[in-house]
């Protein structure tokens, strides 16, 4: 019989479970800005988990990582995303984007609300069922590997696998550029969760490089979202069908 989990393992598993629930929440949100909020909440839990692991395992580097991750993924990335996502009709886009070469007229040329409702390729029930199936598949895939010893929260690792698959599901099920981008960023959160569980000792310099790389990717995603919105007049990817064969 397995021994009862310690406080660290229990907290890690609980935080991971909440992160997975937030991932499901992103899948169901009708507004892009609400998806960003859920992403920020998920990222905040990553920082909390880093602090818990730092305290449990005596890894002071992880405190710095938690602060940096929080600053970037809870504050900077959501801020950049909110600035880059199209706002309500009639509102001008930020000037610096125009200077980057995007069409400022495209920012004003909006005849749709800023929501992403209706971008599901599946009905709500089917989407949830598919996501549960994906989560279960990911959970049992990583859970069955039985990696590590007592220091590894195996359930949290399995949940990271579930989150990875649900994030992929989010990118596939939603046909709008905002949800697909959020899906990618939450995929990165799933990887961060896996990294904290199995690779907490990864040198801080490398973790920092990963985070700044994410920030660059966020800016590029945002610019491409703006370019898409300027060209198509909506966030939908349903009309991205010119290139085939």
């Amino acid at each position: 019989m397995d021994p009862a989990p310690g406080v660290y393992v229990g907290v890690a598993n609980a935080l991971a479970a909440v992160m997975l629930l937030l991932e499901f929440g992103m899948l169901r949100q009708a507004l892009a800005r609400d998806q960003v909020r859920l992403y920020a909440a998920q990222s905040a839990l990553i920082s909390v988990l880093a602090v818990v692991i730092a305290a449990d395992r005596g890894l002071p580097d992880l405190y710095a990582l938690a602060a940096l991750s929080g600053g970037l993924k809870v504050v900077a990335v959501p801020y950049v995303l909110r600035r880059l996502l199209p706002g309500p009709p009639g509102r001008r886009g930020p000037g610096w984007l125009s200077r980057l070469g995007q069409d400022p007229a495209g920012w004003r040329r909006r005849d749709e609300p800023p929501g992403v409702a209706g971008s599901h390729t599946l009905s709500p029930a089917s989407a949830v069922l598919a996501s549960i199936a994906l989560a279960a598949f990911g959970f049992f895939c990583l859970g069955s590997l039985r990696m590590g010893g007592l220091t590894v929260a195996a359930t949290a690792l399995a949940i990271a696998g579930a989150m990875t698959f649900v994030a992929f599901g989010l990118m596939i099920i939603r046909r709008d550029v905002a949800s697909q981008a959020i899906g990618f960023f939450s995929l990165e959160n799933a990887i961060s969760l896996a990294a904290l569980v199995v690779a907490a000792g990864l040198p801080l310099i490398l973790e920092t490089a990963f985070l700044f790389d994410l920030l660059v990717a966020v800016v590029v995603f945002g610019m491409l979202i703006r370019a898409h919105h300027g060209a198509a007049g909506s966030l939908s990817t349903a009309d991205l069908t010119r290139l085939k064969g």
Binding site: T164, A194, V198, F210, A217, H228, A231, L243, G245
Partner: protein, 487 residues
Amino acid sequence: MLLAILLIPCAAAVASLVGPARRAPAVTLAAAIACLGLVIALVPAAAHGTPAAASYLRADAVSVIFLLATAFLYAVVAVYAVGYVPAEHEADDRYARRFHALFNLFAASMLAAPLMSSLALLWIAVEVTTVVSALLVALEDTDSAAEAAWKYVMIASAGLGLALLATIFLYYAGAQVLGEHFNLAITSLIATGPRLPHAPVLLAFMLATLGYGTKAGLFPAHTWLPDAHSEAATPVSALLSGALLATSFYAITRFYQVAAATLGSGIPRDALLAFGVCSLLLASLYVLGQRDVKRLLAYSSIEHMGILAIGVSFGSPVALAGVLLHVIAHAAAKGSAFMGAGVFRIKYRAKEVPAMRGGLEILPWSGPLFLMAVFALSALPPSGIFRSEFQIVAGGLASGQHAAAAVLVAGVTVAFFGLTTSATRMLMTRPARSLGAAAVVERGEPSAWLVVPMVACVAVLAVLGVHPPGELSDLITRGAAQLGGRP
């Protein structure tokens, strides 16, 4: 020297962005030629040792072979861009500045990847190639380019997410033996391979093959590739196809080395064989029906990545040497073919094969050079690709993989029919003016800048096919030994 290879293109990117637009092509050209010179200077050192610098840069024989392919393409495409950018975007200084800045950054990131001593830094370099090249694709400012850029960045980034997961699992495996402060150094992982736990290494290898395979254009995550290659500016398409795919494949070879050291060569080879055969067969069939010349070449790139994967799966020294030669030869051939396709596009103002007629007569230099590039891609002698594919097939037969070798030959033959059919339509039909058509295309080359780099590529292909330089042969032999797990 290793640091200079990274810093020179970065400096050129800054100079291109802030300096006068008219000087950007010259700055890019000077940086590219300097990088090529530095990489060539590395060859003797890497053939007999492993140059390293600054604790995070390292260039063994395998690295330098991939560097050679990238640096060569960077140089020839920089020459090509001198003629291409004004021809396609006349008097657009803002475009020229941005193009050259991103082009140099793209080259810097691709040159950085093989030089990184750690798998974590390698991942970061490959991720940077994605964000920079996605911007280069989107720079074309058309609806199709925006669509291609979005699909590219989404699919490639998702793939790289898996590759990051692979890197983390390999860190976990390495930390069991080397301690938690180990920095994912490639040499340490290979050296301790036999002592690493099997499950995380196997998981890491499969995730890395799928993840980096997405960027290398391997089936089933190849779908971004034809779109991005066809919608990007031609110099970018040439770099994407000849250098970026190889850079991503380089990452797979590093995971393969670690996996083979830990698990033995059985499972890693089988996995690469499956990915390679599927990619080769799918791409060969798609090549048959293509009407867009750049999509045709893009599918040919998937085919060649499949050949590389199959070659590594054969595992014999002669096959591995063929793989490494193929990396350089494919860069030269695909660079030449894309540059030729770009000249056709400028001349005919079209991308569709049926719209291009009488190429041999209309384009007295680019027509024959494009034909030679297509023949080279089809592995006809005496090109370097003929030699490399011959070595790969011979290696497969020598290692007892007769069925896989037969599939390889069949796939290459199907692709040959597809490539040469399209090339024949473009080159050997009667020009439109002979048919009394309204759209008359005058005879003559748009610019000598567009022809010279194609001549260089074809010359390199001939040299690689007939008699590769001794130092290069030594480098390839050493690289094949390293890839095969021998010192």
